[in-house]
Amino acid sequence: MNEVIPKIPVGRTIERGIDYLTLEFSFITRAISNFLETGIDALVAGLMFFPPWVLIPVFAGLSLWVAGRRAGVLTLLGFALIWNLGLWGPTMSTLALVVIATLIAVLVGVPLGVLAALFPRMKRATMPVLDFMQTMPAFVYLIPAIPFFGLGPVSAIFSTVIFAMPPAIRLTCLGIQQIPRELVEAADSFGANRRQKLFKLQVPLAMPTIMAGINQTIMLSLSMVVIAAMIGARGLGAEVWRAIQRFEPGNGFEAGLGVVILAMALDRVTQKIGARDKDSI
């Protein structure tokens, strides 16, 4: 078969495209890289500035306030364990990466979701891309990140954002489209313009669903940030990666446990934010 029909140069085309982008737009990628690196460093420095015995009660108190007593206790014990295992530094690095990646994914993803909900053509264009983004193996995103941003945390953020953004877009779009037709008609019948409709009706009513999307984005960010250790992201992922390379199952498990604790704490808190919105409705 290969002798009759030549291989279609999918891979080569992609490589040429990436080469082109790297060459011609390096000033942009470099600017983004510098900006993000500063941001990450600042956040990590900020988190590391306070000793764990200050931050742990703060985190625990926060989750107690948002998500209730059980979540508060879980956070307190979980983070204390992380400190005890000597993983405090890597955990804060991972947290910083997740926070920044989520922030970017939400800032880009939610508006995209709104646009997709309001304009059918936009939705038709977006949805296949999202399918592609979600089914493409996550590791593949790591490769183009390197020529763009070099090895390090910025590349990790780049691939994490791509991997974690789809739920934010999808659920924002869904949340807005699920609003009962009569409510939209009510706004129209009083002569609301597009902006009024969006901010007085659609976004507030879609908020619980949007929050569910953001929760998903955070969870995906966390899992990708660990994978991104392969291209130089610091943090818990790097600990896992090192344990694999040196075959240290104990250390690997400890770092993995850190990821789980961080995931559970983040999940409880963000889920409750979404549910709280639903309660007040």
Partner: protein
């Protein structure tokens, strides 16, 4: 701007409006005009007929009810008027302005200034308080906060929801939620109120109460109201006039009595059959023309002759202007004729019930003496009701002779 004769003028004029759903909808209009049926068009062209050639007027201050079963196109027709649904063909004039020709911005302004709408499922904003919901329309108009709150409070008071301003919709019963919906629409002080099955989601007792309140409200605020319902009893109760729709087309337009007493088609007739006629028929519809009357100057012999001719035992006496004077019985007339007296004056009795023509017939049943005379405000005789005719009218579906 066209104006009709008489005191009221047309507020809304709907002229040959069509709404076809589907691709290339214009083709559907042509097919309808060529006499194709709704089903044939769905099959041949894959087009769904929403509204088929609707033409009617709504008068200033009128409460017009559009009635039809689900799928009859009544909600679609209503939404064509404020263009929540874009009509496929036809013209709609509101105060003489062609709504179908308006730009998006002009349409928005029109909706803001003239229209208020109340929805079947209330369509309140769940994240806002009752007061904030009532303020919604004014907020869209970008009115200052003080004015907003003042007008919204007035509207809430009008619908009897004082004291609930700080609550949320989910804390209120269905009936109360719909009052909020009504207050929200009234707060912007619209000329025209669209009510889309506004009371259909309420339980029967609350619904009746809301109907009464709408009527009393209407007498105070005097809006032009277009009310959609699938419930004929409701239509008959509140409508000044009723439009009956079927398969997207208007089948009949008329007052409740016209609908009841002369249904235009078999379809309307079948609808009307179920209605409790005793509640909706009035003395005016079931009365017979009082062809047999006598005058005081007629002697007892003439009176007796007239009675004998039609086989009755008493006769109504009127003056030359048909003012009702009373009744003369055959017995008394016979006695009088033997005395040779020439005038009936001495034997005219007042033992006759008179009712105004708008009396519902279930009230007439309570009368002891028949026939009952129907008189207008000046005591002029309009007709009589005999007991047999009353029952016949009910049996026949109110078709009077």
């Amino acid at each position: 701007m066209e104006t009709n004769q008489g005191k009221s003028s047309a507020k809304i004029q709907v002229e040959n409006v069509y709404k076809i759903f589907g691709q290339n909808a214009r083709r559907g209009v042509e097919m309808l005009q060529n006499g194709k049926s709704k089903d044939a068009i769905l099959e041949e062209a894959r087009l769904a007929v929403g509204v088929n050639n609707a033409t009617f007027e709504v008068m200033e201050g009128e409460l017009l009810v559009i009635m039809g079963l689900s799928g009859s196109g009544k909600s679609t027709l209503l939404r064509c008027i404020n263009r929540l649904i874009e009509p496929t063909a036809g013209r709609i004039l509101v105060d003489g302005v062609d709504v179908t020709a308006l730009s998006d911005e002009a349409l928005r302004q029109l909706r803001m200034k003239k229209f208020g709408m109340v929805f079947q499922r209330f369509a309140l904003l769940p994240h806002r308080t009752i007061l904030q919901n009532a303020e919604f329309g004014l907020e869209i108009q970008k009115k200052p906060a003080v004015e907003r709150s003042e007008k919204a409070r007035t509207a809430l008071k009008l619908v009897g929801l004082e004291g609930w301003e700080g609550s949320y919709p989910e804390q209120l019963s269905g009936g109360m939620q719909q009052r909020v919906g009504l207050a929200r629409a009234l707060a912007v002080d619209p000329d025209i109120l669209f009510m889309d099955e506004a009371f259909s989601a309420l339980d029967p007792l609350i619904r009746r109460e809301m109907q009464d309140e709408l009527l009393s409200l209407q007498s105070r605020v005097n809006k032009t109201i277009l009310f959609i319902t699938h419930d004929l009893d409701e239509a008959l109760k509140i409508g000044d006039r009723i439009i009956i729709m079927k398969d997207g087309a208007i089948v009949q337009i008329g007052t409740p009595e016209e609908i009841l007493t002369s249904p235009a088609t078999r379809y309307v007739e079948k609808f009307v059959e179920d209605v409790n006629l005793a509640k909706v028929l009035t003395a005016g519809t079931v009365m017979h023309k009082a062809s047999t009357v006598t005058y005081p100057k007629d002697g007892p012999k003439t009176a007796l002759h007239k009675m004998k001719e039609v086989g009755i035992s008493g006769i109504l006496v009127v003056d030359r202007d048909r003012n009702l004077l009373g009744r003369v019985s055959a017995e008394d007339a016979l006695r009088l004729s033997k005395t040779g007296e020439q005038s009936l004056e001495s034997i005219i009795t007042k033992d006759i019930s008179t009712v105004p023509p708008e009396t519902p017939i279930n009230e007439i049943f309570a009368e002891q003496v028949f026939p009952v005379a129907v008189t207008d405000a000046d005591n002029r005789l309009m007709g009589i009701i005999i007991r047999g005719a009353l029952l016949a009218a009910l049996a026949e579906g109110g078709i009077s002779s």
